[in-house]
Each structure stands twice: as structure tokens, then as C-alpha cells.
Symmetry: C2
Subunit: 534 residues, 2 copies
Amino acid sequence: MESTKTPGEMSRRQFLSTVGKLGGGAAVFSVMGTLGLLSPETMKAADFVPPDGNELSMSKRGGKKIIILGAGIAGMTAAYELGQAGYDCTILEARARSGGRIWSVRRGTTVAEVGASKQVARFADGLYFNAGPMRIPQFHVTMEYIRKFGIPIEPFNNVNEHAYYYNENVGELSGKKIRKREAKADVRGYVSELMAKAVNQNALDMPLTAEEKEKLVAYLRSEGGLDADLFYKASSRGGYKDEPGARLDAGVVRDPFSMKAILNSGFGNYFSSEYSYDQQMMMFHPVGGIDAIPNAFEKRLKGKIKFHSEVIEILQSDTGVTVHYKDLASGEERKIEGEYCICTIPLSVLKSIKSDFSPEMKQAIDSIGYASAGKIGLQFSRRFWEEDEQIYGGNTLTNMDITSIYYPPTGYMQKKGLLLGYYTFGANADKLGEMTYLGREAHALQQGAKIHPQYHKEFEASFSVDWKRIKYNLGGWVSYTGDQRTTVYPTLCKPDRRVYLAGEHMSYITAWMAGGIESARAVVTDIHQRVMKE
Amino acid sequence: MESTKTPGEMSRRQFLSTVGKLGGGAAVFSVMGTLGLLSPETMKAADFVPPDGNELSMSKRGGKKIIILGAGIAGMTAAYELGQAGYDCTILEARARSGGRIWSVRRGTTVAEVGASKQVARFADGLYFNAGPMRIPQFHVTMEYIRKFGIPIEPFNNVNEHAYYYNENVGELSGKKIRKREAKADVRGYVSELMAKAVNQNALDMPLTAEEKEKLVAYLRSEGGLDADLFYKASSRGGYKDEPGARLDAGVVRDPFSMKAILNSGFGNYFSSEYSYDQQMMMFHPVGGIDAIPNAFEKRLKGKIKFHSEVIEILQSDTGVTVHYKDLASGEERKIEGEYCICTIPLSVLKSIKSDFSPEMKQAIDSIGYASAGKIGLQFSRRFWEEDEQIYGGNTLTNMDITSIYYPPTGYMQKKGLLLGYYTFGANADKLGEMTYLGREAHALQQGAKIHPQYHKEFEASFSVDWKRIKYNLGGWVSYTGDQRTTVYPTLCKPDRRVYLAGEHMSYITAWMAGGIESARAVVTDIHQRVMKE
């Protein structure tokens, strides 16, 4: 997959790279826009012009040493791109594995959360869950490396109308599991009905012509599934109480919930979770586990990653950077020197590492908070959500602590299955995170069983992760608050002499692998330009 | 996959089958409902209790011969289920292949439409399109056979916000391709804004309390992405004109279209195509082609299907049925006799086959129309929709003749790709169907290139199907009109002496494989009960 260039034909990338060298990034954008084929997403993806491998060697500046801290996606992207351009990169990674938060939990995976005992995943072979990132919007730059490295992918079912909403203490529909399609049909139906009638009665103040009003009513009829008189009545969109079948079995459409019941349920507020830019379908994930991505990078960075290397101190001089680290295998302290350093360590961890960063930089690093996030994988002896309830992937949302249940978007119809018993953020994540592993399991089972009583009989094994308690991460993702993006963030964005920060926290695509990649690519470009000017 | 029963434990199916024998179908429903785990969809799927294989042999009525006409999904389901119960089934199939409309077109596939020359698919190895059914709702009975037969499946991307709407002659947005998310954000935004303000101004006549009105406004704010003052302004839900990226690159959200422009575009009327019960996500399809389903049945019906056998006449006596057919391989006329006959031949074809059906039955068969439907597969040298436009599966909708473009929900990131250049119904299908193969190709390319200019450079090969012109089908699916469901349809549902009709046309799940399966299962039950009463 990595070389698909037609001999004798200039590839688009080569062409754009040439344009970039002649006229810079702005020229690239302009040419691509003129080609007329390319979306903003494509233009963003093509924004990065990798350093030309010939430039460094021709400049006689070859062999520049770059120290990279952290073998997550940002560190490995930087090492990969700089390596392609002839730089000599070394990654220090405290763990025995690459990927950072990109982490698939499967049989034999272990973790000891901070202050807790060791947890071992005792899942069946072939089952896994992705404890960190688990889905990729189709337009993210991440897909570019997936293509380049030939990583097999499959859809991540982020939308499933056959999954449930389940809320407690919301009136009439409390404690009832409702297929998402039911809530959507009813809410859209009632709201469209109200609106269509108001438009027809000229009750709304709108700058529309009569013809446009007709179009609006036609839309509302379509959107709400209204009848000819603009009433929302029973509609198959919400499903059936008796499914249609063979011959004379026309089926019986379900009865809508009352407007009051569905309004008080709060289910309508869940709809927009599917509307946000980076949650919209289609989404994808690697077959067999998200760690296929770091694994693919790692394979291309043979010998460049020093594992078990915990950074202790970062010191700089006028000509270079010295990083002191502890070799966790031998227990010995070591140091490594380079001309530049790319630090991808999460700020939540970096704040406790000694350095001679400027006071402004230290203060900025100190000030940034991280989001709470937690997941639990639950293995069941039977995929009852598929067999009994016909739910293949997607998620169920609830106002209980567990927040959501994610059904596996892979391995359909296999015997056993592993679902996410919760994926929580914020206060719910904190509450669950404070529990023991067994406490979390019990809580996930107790609440989940209200939606899936099959939990009681079919449960086999769990493994939970609270990102605030995972050493070397200490948080789910960066969480800028208030005016931090305009006050302290700009300081983080500038290099501290010879040290550049990278990672999802150094982007406006926080919490996504794409943020790590984009920030790494920006640093790669900066370092290369700086080296060529030296 | 076929035997996952735990020894010593009564399977749910066995249990329900037992209940069914003791108390009939109603008892099964009741017990399942009481179990409390099972949805209407599950109950429908479990509605069918296969004839017990022991009953026929114990009754000494063994060896009953059943003639089945057509090796589509209905015919093969009937043969499979009756075969399991000890019946001696023979399927007559005019074609050299099974599946009927379940047909994957790939390298070497040929067809001569009625009155036209032979068309040969010259696609690259591994590329295919499904000319008939191509997607399966997760709750359809079809999934039961997929599970039973262990057929690998993958999601069918029926929803993709990154694909386009493209309309002509609709005002300001004419001739512009718009990402679906743009239209959805704007329409939902403006409509929610209007509605929220009307609610706040008490302009709507609603039986809601003040607290409920607040909830309604909160929902509208969430649904429309409104700001605190209930205005719809720029929102990332609709995407960016400059994508966010690394460090200080916060991105620039796109400007919404004006309310008038988006209203006149008609795009809002496309939204509900995703809402209908059988189009909602998640949907699935077999890996490698939908014909994996008929192939799996065929494998289990070894020696029971007589291919190249074109039915000429269906005659009945008091004790049996005689079907005269032409062996297309030898050209000879032959006949076969059985005690019962299941006829799955589409009514559009059956109406021209001689029979001694009752006058009522003949008249009913004659009166039913079939839907027009057509597809064209277009092979391109490059998956530009993925590479340039980040569209992985899903469809683009348009008011041009081509109606829709479907991007392949499989083979992501491969070099070449095959998309559906059109999938049309009704008048558009008729218009395209009347053209020659080359005419359709030219039309699909000319219109599609307005959306994807890459068509010009990358096109390689096409294959088109107009179902009204496909021998042995003569139509896409049954199309009951007016009051036919209450007038002539009941006649079709009753056996004509010893001949039972089955197929999607004998169901309320028309146009779906599930309709064929359900109708076949109903006939299987009827025939078995009749035999046991003889």
C-alpha cells in the first residue's frame, strides 16, 4: 500500500509537494482549491508537506538527533515523518508497549491503577475492547496513516436505532427501555406537527413567501411522518408492536407515547449526540483492536523506541537537550542527548517531571486540567444483545451512572461477546473510578441488568480502566477551561528553546488521535524549517 | 455455527418449539412475552416453529414429494425447512444459478436483457455489486439464516453524513454538492430556532405546563444547536470551511446557508429516507457479495435443485400436482409430479405460465403490477470518493435521473473501486431502462460527473440491470396499488388446491429477502399441518 505511484506520473502528493516548495503552504491550498475537487477536510489532510528527505542530506546537516518523549501516536508520527526525512530519532517510552492511550485490552492485559492492585484481563481469545480511542471519523488524518500502512478497518457502528434509551426519574417512561427509533419518531412527529400547524396558521413570524411556507410544511410532514392533515399518529418509523410478516400479517404499528411522556423522558436531548461533527457516521476502527495503529507505526520504527524508559528530567543548553531517564528494566539512571526534543507526555504527567523550562511554560503546564473518563469491558457467554434483541453494535444511552453501553462493532454472531458496560466522563467517571475493580464490575452489572436482564445469567469477566488512575496518563484527555486557550495555551504552542510539545493537547482536535498526529506534523515542519535555517 | 446447543440443556428454540406443539403459536408468543426479554422483532422471528422431523416419519406419511418452483430465497427456504422435516423437495429453477433477484454481479457475470444483446461484466477481480437486494436490517429474519449458516457479514453503510445532496433547479443551491451534515445542521437549526421562539412567546397552542415548555425549548436548543438566545448560528455540526488542526489552528466553522436557500433546496425532504423502519441503521450485508446467502442455502440443498428448468405449465389433480418444464440444456420437455407445489415465481412471470388455477386466482395474478428498479455498477481505477472526498460507503442523493450514488460499503482503501452509479425506481428507472447498456453508462457518467468530476478520468467499466427487462423476474418487486391488498391479495394468499404461492410478493415485507423467507415459512407450516391432517 505504501508505494502506489505510477511510474512516470507525478503523484498528486509530489505535485503538491513541489508547489509547496515553490510557493509555500498558501500556494498548495490555492492550487488544490483551483483543482476544485478537494474539500476542506482533504485540504487539511494535505496541509502537511513532509520534509523532503534530500534536503537534510544535501545541506550537509545530516544526522540531526531528535529525542522524542512518549511512543503514543504523536511521538510515533513525529519519529516516522522525521525518520523519512533523514533525522535520527529516539523515542523514550516508559511502558513496555507503544500507543499510550491507544490501548486494546485483551486476554492477558494487565494494569495496576495508581494506588490499586494489579488487574488481569481474563477474556476469551479473540475478544477485546479499546480502553482509549475506539472510533475514527472518516475524514480524520488518522485515515491517511491507516491507508499508508495498509491497516484493515471496519465500520464503527456509532448509530443504531435498534439500541435503547433508558432513563430513571423522568416521569411516565422512567425505567423503561425504549428503542431509539421510538423516541425519535415521537419527538420528531409531535414537534413537526406543532410547527406545521403554527406555520399554516401564520402563528410564526417568518420572512418566508407563501410558496416557501408550503415547502416548510412539506418538509415538516416528511420530517415528522405527519398525515395529510398534519397530525402525527402511529408510524412504522417507530417500529411495530406486532411485526409485519407473511401473507395477511400486515403487522401492527406501535402506539406513540404521549407528547408529555416523551417530552418528560428527556430522550430527545440524546439525539444531538449523533449530530456532533466528530460523532457523525460513518466512523471506523481497525479490525482486531485499535492498537493495530500504534503497532503499524512501531513496526516502521524498529530500534528507535527505548521502552521501559521513564523520563526524570529535561535539561537544555544552547546547542542541545539532555533527557535523564530511568531504565525501568535495570533500575539504572541514564541520559540521552539530542539537538531537539519533542515532548508528547500528557501535561498531567509532565507537570511532575523536572525540567528547566521557562517559568511561563512551567506555569502553563501546571495550570491545565485533564478530563475524567472510564470504561469497563464485560464479557458474556452469549451475545444476547444480538440473539435476543437484534442489536449489532451501537450504543444504549441512560441517565444512570453507567451513562452508556456500547455493543461490540465487530465479531458479529460469534458465540461469546464483550461489550462496554460503561463509557463515562466527568462526575460519573469519578464516581466509578473511586470504586475498586470489583465495585465497578458490580455497579456496571447492577445498572446494566436493568436494561439487559440477561447480564445476570451470562456474565463472565470484566476489566475496567479509570484514566485518571492510569500511570503515565493521569487523565482521559486535555480539558481547557475558561479562557485558557487564549491565555496559557499560546505559551504551550511555542517551543521552549529546543523543546516542542506535541500530542492531542496541542491541538483543536483534543481527545482524538488526529489531534496527536496533526500536532506532531506541525512540530516536524517547524523543526525541519529551523534546522534548514541554522 | 449450526449446532451450538449445550448438551443436557434445552435450547430456547427447543423449549419454544415444545410450547408451540402443546399450545400452538399463540402460546409461544405468550410464553416469550412472559419471559420479558423479547422484543416484537424477536417474537416475529420466533413465530415460525419448524415442523418436527419426527412427526412425518412417525406418521408413516414419509416421503411426501413437494415441487418448488424457483430457487430464490423463498423457494430455498421452503426446501430447506421442509427438507429438515423429512419432505422430499425438488426445486425447478430456470437459471443456471440460484438466488433469483439475489444476484451479485462480478467479473464474468453475463445477462441479456429482454430484447437486448448480451452484457458481460468486465470488472476487476474482487469487485462486485449486488444488483438486487444489497442490505439487511439487523432485525430481519434473514439474519437468522445468516447466523445459522455462519455467513460472514459486515455493516452496510446506509447513513453517511459526509456524502452529498445535489439538486438542480432548486434556487440558490442548484448544482451545488452539499455534505449531508450541512443541510441537516441548517434545516434543524432554523426550524428549531423558529419553534423555540414561538414556544417562548406562547405563540403555539400546546397542552403543556410551563416546566414542560422549558423542556421542549431545551430539546430544541439541543436539536438545533442553538445558542443561549435561541439563535441558530454557525455550528461545527455542519462542518468547517477550514478544519481545526494543530496548536493555534482552531479552524473556521462554515457559514450556514440562508433559511430561504436551504428551504428551497429541498434537501430537508431527503432526511426522512433514513428514518423509515427498514432503512434505519444498523444494516448489514454478507462479505464478498449478497449471493453468499443463496449459495449457503444451495450448499445445503445438494441435488435438490434442477437448474435450466423453465416451467411451462402447472396442472393439478385431486391427489397431486404435475409441473411441465423445459430442460433448457437439452431443449426437451419434461414433467415432474408431487403432492404439493410451492410456486415462488414472480407474478409478473407467472401470469404468462399456463396453469389450471381457478379463474379467481388467474385474475388476481394478472392484476398485480411490479415496480421498476435499475442499478448500474461503475468501476473506477481509483477510489476517489475515499481518497479525495473521505466518503467511505453511504449514498449521495440527487434529483437528477440517477437518483442516488452508492459508495461501496466494503473493500475500503483498496486501489480500484466499484460504486453504484445509480439506483433508481419508478419513472427514472423506466427512463434509464429504455436506454441501451452504453446509453445508460453514458447517462450515469454524465450526471454523476457533475458530483464527482473524477468520473471523467477514472472510469473503467460498467454493468447495468433494469429489472423490468430481466427474464424470469420482469420487475423489481411487487407493487400492490389501491385496494388490491383487500380485494385480490387474499386470493393469492390461499392455496389454489395444492399449489401455494410464496415470495416477497406474498408478504407485508415486500422487496425484502425477509418477505420471501417469512412467506416460505408460512407455507411450510401450512403444508405440514395439512399433511399431518390427511
